[in-house]
């Protein structure tokens, strides 16, 4: 924006329109990149099928040999789509945590939700403790989910107390991280080495656990929460100006914050329960989105969806190509890919984001 454009209302409108146009192009770019990454994820694999064969298997599953159908429909598609869904869910969860708590460090990982989920999973893997015995067949994800919701509930309880600031909530979250990490270590201490190996592997995160029902549940959660966030997008944008300003616009700040936290917990708890802790996406996805597209929720929200999905999708591709044939834990890859990009964005100083 140049000075001339700032000078007149007409110029301002034009400048704003240009800005909106630029953001729309950015979103479109993300969409294209994410689609490309998905196609790559589907096309690559140890069985060297051609892209044409894969496309045929996706579109007309009944017309291809059994093995091709199984590879595409039971192995590649659930994993590739799960990468998108989990990345999107965690990224949006992190984005709205950062918005409502007004803190750049907030994410499902830093607020103890992932750590709580790991602890729940470890209870099942190492000690065989089912928090909901009626779902014994899904003991590990159910345990992880229950603990994640429990830790989110603790944060909620505190948030409705009088005189509690967003800073204290972040501090409480960090206290929860340490608590659950200590409990996790305690479980590992009493476990067999085999169970310890299973727990460690779980905490590294793995998309190979993806199945169609899990993917369905994750997508359902996204489908329910995103429209609610979109409806609140103006209010959430205003919240970033500060609680008092937002309240002066007529927003019920505490109600908005509580509602958002409930939605965030669902968004974070399900994916973590299904694929293990891939915490980094939730912290960095929204930051990348914010640096590139700004704070306006109308763009920030879809951009967070895209950055998270793209980051995890690329990680999924890398995790299966790094050691051909073997599976490299996707959580590790996500951090290693995301960090250099993240740091370069911070250092380039483009668009002061916080």
């Amino acid at each position: 924006m140049n000075i001339a454009a700032m000078a007149t209302p007409a110029g301002q409108t034009a400048g704003y329109r240009a800005l909106v146009r630029r953001k729309r192009w950015l979103l479109l770019g993300f969409l294209v990149l994410t689609t490309l990454s998905l196609v790559l994820d589907l096309a690559l694999g140890p069985v060297g099928y051609s892209v044409k064969e894969v496309v045929q298997a996706v579109l007309w599953p009944d017309s291809v040999p059994l093995q091709l159908r199984v590879v595409v429909w039971d192995i590649r598609l659930p994993t590739a789509l799960m990468a998108l869904a989990v990345g999107a869910a965690l990224s949006v969860a992190g984005a709205q945590m950062q918005t409502t708590l007004n803190n750049p460090l907030a994410s499902p990982f830093t607020l103890g939700i992932s750590a709580a989920a790991s602890f729940g999973a470890a209870l099942g893997l190492a000690l065989g403790v089912a928090l909901f015995p009626s779902f014994a067949g899904y003991m590990v994800p159910v345990n992880a989910f229950v603990m994640a919701m429990l830790s989110a509930g603790l944060i909620h309880l505190l948030s409705v107390k009088r005189g509690v600031t967003t800073e204290t909530m972040v501090l409480l979250g960090i206290a929860l991280v340490f608590t659950f990490n200590a409990l996790l270590a305690l479980v590992q201490y009493f476990a067999t080495e085999q169970a310890v190996a299973a727990v460690v592997f779980w905490t590294m995160g793995s998309l190979t656990k993806a199945t169609w029902p899990k993917l369905g549940v994750t997508c359902l959660v996204i489908a329910v929460t995103l429209p609610l966030f979109a409806r609140n997008s103006w209010a959430l944008t205003a919240l970033r100006l500060g609680d008092d300003k937002a309240a002066s616009f007529g927003i019920n700040v505490s109600r908005l914050r509580l509602q958002t936290l409930v939605l965030i917990s669902l968004l974070a708890a399900f994916p973590v329960a299904f694929v293990g802790t891939i915490g980094f996406v939730g912290l960095v996805g929204p930051h990348i989105a914010r640096m590139l597209i700004g704070e306006d929720q109308r763009f920030f929200l879809p951009a967070s969806v895209m950055t998270g999905a793209l980051l995890l999708s690329i990680s999924s591709v890398v995790s299966k190509t790094l050691i051909p044939g073997a599976i490299f834990p996707v959580g590790v890859v996500t951090s290693l890919i995301g960090v250099p990009f993240f740091i370069s964005l911070i250092l380039s100083g483009r668009g002061r984001s916080w």
């Binding site: 694999g45 080495e193 299973a198 051909p324």
Partner: protein, 406 residues
């Protein structure tokens, strides 16, 4: 008045400290037992230098009468030496045997109820232990597995224990079982003064392995491709497997090709399920056990001592429908087998090798009976009775070799 009370409290404190100290000195049974044990050292005890599995030279007084097992499963070896009473010298052990192999533990507990009184120690890092507890037991030697080395070195346990004259000896029968089980057995035999018995076991073990490796070397059969699904049913994940060690090596010795070899850099790792399809294994071997305590009503196959094989076979059937095996030779031929997972950490792994060889080359090993071998091992070397149930295959499952034979 105030001064009087202060003196009174001081006196009371002094007296109670004295009473407690005297009580500890007089009543501590461990202390008395230890001094008695030290006095009762057999006259033929002598100091010798042994070389352990890390190549360290260690001075040990042999035969050792008080031994701490840094891993409970070292009992598998000790029991073959001190067959009459394998727990007589064990004054402390890690609880991994109780946790990882409860069936074997209870078999020993039935025969030797005193096994429950052996002090246990935990520790999630292999081989870590409470050094005070160890010292209190006044052991003649502490046996540690080689993977405990880093934790032990970090804590400088070796030096601290050496100051008290307690030697630490490293053994191994998990990391490189094919190379290290034999010297480990020889070493423990030397420590317990049971050299002849150890040699007898080694000779038996080698002869049993030779029955497989000799026949494979002579006949040079085509090597079927084998996928080992590690800890089947323990986690939801698919396709955990072994690299070129442990079960990976067992398969190679048994005349097969481990499809995960070269893809898993270490001993343990995970294959992409699609890679299993791409590798198209001729046979699938699932290592599993009864994990009801960890995964209630899970997909695990309860093979192990005294297992219900009909039920195990029923659960194995479900593995043929896993995506990772779709369209593979193994699925077409129903060549699926399950084997007791604990063979991965046992000096009795030669039984597993025999069973693998029989699965891979049924015609070549028609006369080999792994169950009989395991029974004979129990009769000759072990104090507990043999309970079959360690292996299972699908009904009507045929291996390619069997088809090719006629």
């Amino acid at each position: 008045m105030a001064i009087d009370r202060r003196w009174g409290i001081a006196l009371l404190t002094l007296v109670s400290v004295g009473v407690v100290a005297a009580g500890i000195f007089l009543l501590d049974p461990g202390r008395r037992a230890d001094s008695a044990a030290a006095a009762a050292l057999p006259p033929q005890a002598q100091r010798v230098t042994v070389k352990d599995l890390l190549g360290r030279e260690v001075q040990v007084r042999v035969p050792a009468q008080r031994v701490i097992l840094g891993e409970g499963r070292q009992l598998y070896l000790v029991a073959a030496l001190d067959t009459d009473n394998p727990i007589q010298r064990i004054v402390g052990w890690r609880k991994d045997l109780i946790q990882a192999d409860p069936d074997t533990y209870s078999a020993y507990a039935r025969r030797f109820p005193a096994i429950a009184d052996i002090p246990t120690f935990g520790g999630f890092e292999d081989g870590t232990f409470d050094i005070e507890q160890a010292i209190a037991q006044k052991p003649d030697v502490i046996l540690l597995n080689i993977e405990a080395q880093r934790a032990t070195d970090d804590a400088r346990y070796i030096e601290k224990l050496a100051a008290l004259g307690i030697p630490v000896v490293y053994v191994d029968f998990r990391h490189h079982p094919m190379e290290n089980t034999e010297p480990t057995m020889r070493l423990i035999g030397r420590l317990l003064g049971k050299e002849a018995r150890a040699e007898e076991f080694i000779a038996y073990r080698n002869a049993q392995i030779q029955r497989v490796s000799g026949a494979i070397a002579a006949a040079q059969p085509a090597r079927p491709k084998v996928f080992i699904e590690r800890i089947g049913g323990y986690t939801e994940d698919c396709c955990l497997s072994f690299g070129n060690e442990n079960f990976g090596k067992f398969v190679e010795v048994a005349g097969g090709t481990n499809v995960a070899r070269g893809m898993i850099p270490g001993t343990f790792g995970q294959l992409n399920p699609e890679q299993v399809i791409a590798a198209n294994p001729d046979q699938v071997v699932v290592t599993s056990a009864n994990w009801e305590a960890y995964v209630p009503s899970g997909r695990w196959i309860g093979v192990g001592p005294g297992a219900d094989l009909a039920e195990a076979r029923r659960k194995l059937e479900a593995y043929t429908r896993r995506p990772a095996y779709a369209g593979t030779r193994a699925a077409q031929d129903r060549a699926f087998h399950a084997i007791w997972h604990q063979f991965y950490n046992s000096p009795y792994e030669f039984v597993a090798i025999q069973q693998l060889a029989k699965w891979l080359h049924p015609a070549l090993f028609a006369d080999l009976d792994p169950d009989a071998t395991y029974r004979e091992l129990h009769e000759r070397f072990l104090p507990v009775p043999y309970q079959p149930g360690y292996f299972v295959s699908l009904d009507g499952g045929a291996s390619p070799a069997a088809k090719a034979a006629p």
